[in-house]
Each structure stands twice: as structure tokens, then as C-alpha cells.
Amino acid sequence: MCERAFPNHLITKSTYNQIHIPMIEFRMPSLGADMEDGTLREWKVKPGDMVHRGDIIADVETMKGIIEIEVFDEGIVEQLLIKEDEKVPVGTVMALIAPSKAEVGVKTPAPEAKAPELHPIEEKMPAAAVSVPAHEGIRASPLAKRIAAENHLDLATVHGTGEGGAITREDVEKAIAERDIKLPPRAPVAAPPAVATDSIRMAVAAAMSKSNREIPHYYLDIAIDMSKALAWLAEANRQRPVQKRLLPVVLLIKAVARSLQEFPDLNALWDNGLQRKKDINIGFVVSLRTGGLVVPAIHHADKKTLDEIMEALNDLIPRARALKLRSSELSESTITLTNLGDGGADSVFGVIYPPQVAIVGFGGITEQPFAENGMLGVRPVLRATLAGDHRATDGLTGSRFLATLKKHLQQPETL
């Protein structure tokens, strides 16, 4: 009889929810391969609020600044699980959202739920304990994993001296100490961004190390005569007020986007195999004056006009420099474009940002002797390069891509 008196004790809260309505779990998003955790700075919603796809529901601080996080589901915020200023690993459930299909506005999901709420038998766990540690397959103590994550140390580089070769706290602390000795001492920079540029440096370091370790790169370059493109641009700008003027990079972005339409294998991610991406979102490298870089995405660059791309840059670059980007801008790039601009090196061979499979690099446009049709002339020449992931594509694809890019830049009026 006692068992009958307390039957609901056997149902934990989570199974309870699963029985009645499956909740949408809103998780700490990964804003790049280099992100392991984020700190919730502010909830922009409260329980009971309706949210739609694309709404910004939280500000999260990452190594790349304070990022506005968008939601990709529709429904009513049921519960906020993470408190403001709490730091949680990527993948941690931050909020529960009741899907809007299940009777919008009705808070109590099912008639049985009318009974006074029973406390779940299981105790509340710290949020951090729920998520899966970042490094699977590496034998390391939970503490060692935690310290490594906090210090952005890749456990794969650490030699374990614990039982059965497990990595212990001592091993990790030693590795961090050795790494810190190798890093140059911090320059006394009066850095205006709220987030230390050190952490951006570490984020870049982590992503580029991973790339160099895992991605077999191949490199190609091509020289492009930019006379026609620049002449077209000068004419276009002559008719525009200074606020509407276009920069040469706009043509480059559009030409890359166009070319990618013909080479979908380069607009893709590698995750145990090639995953082509439908949208062409070009990650545009923005250097920070204090060092480091951030790479916001220009979404649907192939569908944008040149003016729209320029507007996107006007919006993105200042926000990128102030480290105020949105989650979708940091996580949805399908390829990266790096542009050195004037006055620098002639060409740049990039390091692919995983899990992307290609990076296009542009050097400065300089006057060069240029042979064409048996004639030698002086032309403004741009050197475009492609670094490709050899697991995903071969040099032939890359070569054809660069040739197509060159062709597009000879027909600026069609861009």
C-alpha cells in the first residue's frame, strides 16, 4: 500500500516531461571549433515568453567577445536553467522551450499535471556536471580535463603519468607551465575591447593548431589582372556619394561566392566525410588592431548585390572590432576569405578554419609587368590563392575554382 501512496516518486522530472510534451532543449552553442565554453551574461527572455526562429534570447561571453545568441526553434520559454554569469561548456542545456505546436499559452501541459508538483527524487546537479567532457577517447582525470579546458590546452599534446597512462592534474599543470614559458610576455596593451585580446590569441591558436594537425592542406595561386574590375569600380563609385562607395573587396567577395556555386565541394564542412552546404556564407577575416582576428559570416553572399555586401561589411566590421557579434555570424561560415589589402604582401596562403574545407586568400593589388596576347604591359595585379583540404577535394577542383574566380573578375559588370 505504501508503494501505491507515492507512485509518482518513481517518475523523475525529466521522464515526466518526456511523457507529456517533449521540450526543446536550448543548448550552449558552439561558435567555432575553438570554443569550449561560454559565460551567460544576460537572458533576453523570461519564462512564458514566446520566441521565434532568429530571436536573440541571450548574450553569451566567449573568447571572441559578447555574442548575441539566437534561437532556432519556435515556442514558449518554459524554464531558464542557467543563471546569469554562469560559465558552462558547449552543449549544456541552458533553457527548455515548449514547442509552439503543443497548445500555445497553456502553461500546464497535461491534466495529470494538476496534482501539486512533486519534487524529483534526483537532486539538482550543477549544470557543468551534465554535459559531456570535451575530449573523448583521451584518458584523463575529470579534474585534468577541466583544468585543460579552462586553460585552452589540448589534452592530445599532454603526456599522462597517472594510472594506466591517465593524464592527471600535475601533467596538465606542467604542460600549461611549459606552454606559458614559450609564449612571449604580455605586452602592456591598453586594450579597449572588454575581452582580453589574450583569449582571442588563444582561440586563434587552438583553432589553427587543430587545423594544422588534422587538415592536409594543398595550396594553389593565380595572378589576376584587375584593370577591368578597378575601372568598373572607379566608374561605379564616381556616381555614388561617399557613403555608398564600394571597396574592391566587395567584388572579390561576390566573385568568390559566384564561383562557389559552381564548386559546391569547396563550400562544405568536413565531419567524418564531406558535407556540402546549401547556403554560401563567407567568413570574412577581420584583423583586430590589438592583435588576433575574428571571422564574421556574410550570409548568402551569392544572393546579395554588391551594395548589399558593402552594407554587410559596414555593419559587420565595426561590430567585429568591438567584439559584438551574433552567434550565427560566428558559427555559420561555410568558407573563409582573407584579404590583405593594399601595402602588404603580394599573396597569402591561408590555414583552413576547421571544419571548413577551404580558405581563399587575396594579396594586395600591385602594378606588375603582365603578358597577354603576346604583349607586355603594366597592370594592377591581384594574386588569389586557395588552400584546400585534401581530404575533401583535389588540386584539380581547386585549380578550376581559381580559374573561374579569375573569369568572374574579368566581367565585373555581371557580378
Binding site: M125, A129, S141, L143, K145, G162, E163, G164, T168, R169
Partner: protein, 330 residues
């Protein structure tokens, strides 16, 4: 002025002084149990008390654990403060129905109207070659029961003080005393008295590993920690003291500091307190752990009679030292 003065006292004498102080301080208190009066207690803990307090307050009872424990519970319900002595934990099984079905449940079943302020003391553990029917460590059996407070007397200080605090509890308290330690001498403050019975206690501080233990494991762990210090390992020793409700805050904090835990108990390994402590560490301090939690427990056999086998059946100082060294330098 007398703050720093200490006295040398046996564990047995500390237990006796506590009983005597309780009898003197509250006329509702009385001691009942087999041979506690005329014989002076099976382990001579109550020797001389009959002469001092008379047969109404030092009460010899028939050999019926269920009967006299039930009488003690009845007396507690009627407003007395009985101390029921059960000779060894093995015999307490005969009183288990009274303890589990009555003492532990009446507050709940009366809707909060009835408190059962009974204190039940029992001797337990090995050490006197009393073999498999008198020597077991069944703290986990009682620590499993909601409604009971379960204390383990691991030090002389607690021998002197736990009973006094237990008598202040409105709810039933089971106290485990260790026959192995009765003749051990130690220094305690001359003015020692009632002690807190809600918290575990760090008996020795260290930074390299937490040895979490209770009862007869406390002094053995402290000795092991002293030996380990000689090889440069600083072990922290946590005495659980209160086996129910467990004070997890103290041992979780210790593990948060040392990042390694060895749980030592004389009771059998399977489904014991060490398992419970280990589970809570894994649940609540997982990300503090630098090595798997280890348990060092009693061998899962009936306690043997021969001295060398009896000694071998529970963790000894050397076992603790070896286990710690293996965890720190595998």
C-alpha cells in the same frame, strides 16, 4: 585557564564518564542492558555505576533484545531519556524490528506527534577474538534507515561527548562503540564534554589525498597519514562521525582541496558506507577528481576467530599506506 590542561584516559573510561555525567545531569536518564549492573557491563564500561546510582537507573535486563529495546522505546515515548546498551551489534539484529519499525517510524506515522528520544549504544568491530557472532561492523545497516541518527565513536573525544549530545536529540540515536579501542589511551581536554553531532570532522589536514573514514578506521588512518608524511605525502583524514545523515559538505570540500579520495571502513565492501561516500563524490565533485575514488573495506567473510586472520579481515595501517601510495604514484 584550564583550557590547555589535558587528561590521559582510556576509551572505556571516556564512555563511562559520559554515561555518569548524563545520569548526574538529568534524572530522566537511565541505563538498561544485559549485564550493565551487577556485572559492570560486558566490557566493563558501566562498572561501579550500579553502586552509585542504584538499580532503578542501572537496570539489568533479561536476555531479550527485542523486549528490552522495545521497553526503552516505550520509556522514551513516555518522557524518559533511556540509554539502551546492546552488547554487540550482532545481537542488535534481534532488536532490529523495534529500532527500524518503531523507533525510526513513529514520528512519521504519528504525523509528528510522537518523538522517540531513545539512545541505543552497541559495541562493534573486531579486536577481541570474539569471532563471527560478536564482531561485525554493521553501521551500514543502520545508516540505511531514514528516521535514525547514526553516530560512530572514532575518537576518545567523541567517546566522552557524543552520548551527551545524543541524549539531547528528540529522535532515536544509534551509537556505535568499538570494542577494539576500549583499552586505548589518549589525551583529551580535562573539561571535555558534549560535542557536535551534525558534522564530520577533519582530524588531520593535508593537500594530497583525502582519507575518509569512521570508527576504528580513524586512528588507523591517522597513523597511516603520519607514516605517509615521512614519504612526503600529505594526507587529510576526514572522520565521518555522523553516518546518518551524512555530512557530505565536509568530505566534498576536502576532496575539492585534495582531488583524490580513499574511503576506509571496516564494514564489508559491497553496499556499504564507502560505496555511498564514493557515489556522492562522483555525483557532486566529479570535476574535482584527479583519480578514481578508491575503497578499502573489510574482507567479505564472517569475521574469523584466529588473531592473525581477524587482523587480516579489516584494513590496517599498512593497507592504508599502500593504497594511498598506489593512488598517488601508480
Amino acid at each position: 585557564m584550564a583550557d590547555n590542561k589535558t587528561i590521559k584516559i582510556t576509551y572505556r573510561e571516556a564512555l563511562k564518564q559520559a554515561i555518569r555525567e548524563a545520569l548526574l545531569g538529568d534524572e530522566r536518564v537511565f541505563l538498561m542492558g544485559e549485564d550493565v549492573g551487577r556485572y559492570g557491563g560486558a566490557f566493563a564500561v558501566s562498572k561501579g555505576l550500579l553502586q552509585e546510582f542504584g538499580p532503578d537507573r542501572i537496570m539489568d535486563v533479561p536476555l531479550s533484545e527485542s523486549g528490552f529495546t522495545g521497553a526503552g522505546i516505550g520509556a522514551a515515548l513516555a518522557g524518559m531519556r533511556p540509554i539502551v546498551e546492546v552488547m554487540t551489534v550482532n545481537f542488535s539484529l534481534l532488536a532490529m524490528d523495534q529500532i527500524v519499525n518503531n523507533a525510526a517510524t513513529l514520528l512519521h506515522m504519528s504525523g509528528g506527534q510522537l518523538n522517540v528520544p531513545v539512545v541505543i549504544r552497541m559495541g562493534c568491530g573486531i579486536g577481541r577474538q570474539l569471532a563471527a557472532q560478536h564482531s561485525h561492523s554493521w553501521e551500514p545497516l543502520y545508516a540505511h534507515i531514514p528516521g535514525l541518527i547514526v553516530l560512530s565513536v572514532g575518537t576518545h573525544e567523541d567517546a566522552r561527548g557524543m552520548l551527551l549530545s545524543a541524549l539531547k536529540s528528540p529522535d532515536p540515536v544509534v551509537i556505535f562503540e568499538y570494542t577494539y579501542m576500549l583499552n586505548m589511551e589518549a589525551e583529551i581536554p580535562a573539561g571535555a564534554g558534549a560535542v557536535d553531532i551534525s558534522k564530520a570532522k577533519v582530524r588531520r589536514e593535508g593537500k594530497d589525498i583525502s582519507i575518509i573514514t569512521y570508527g576504528a578506521g580513524v586512528y588507523k588512518s591517522l597513523e597511516a597519514a603520519t607514516e605517509l608524511a615521512a614519504s612526503g605525502i600529505e594526507a587529510e583524514v576526514v572522520d565521518l562521525r555522523v553516518l546518518r545523515p551524512l555530512d557530505e559538505t565536509t568530505f566534498l570540500a576536502s576532496v575539492g582541496k585534495t582531488h583524490r579520495a580513499l574511503v576506509v571502513e571496516e564494514a564489508w565492501r559491497s553496499v556499504g558506507l564507502a560505496a555511498e561516500v564514493s557515489a556522492r563524490i562522483t555525483e557532486k565533485a566529479f570535476y574535482e577528481l584527479d583519480a578514481p575514488v578508491q575503497r578499502l573495506c573489510g574482507v567479505e567473510v564472517p569475521i574469523p576467530y584466529p588473531k592473525h586472520l581477524e587482523d587480516a579481515s579489516v584494513p590496517q595501517r599498512g593497507d592504508i599506506v599502500r593504497a594511498v601510495k598506489k593512488m598517488i604514484k601508480p
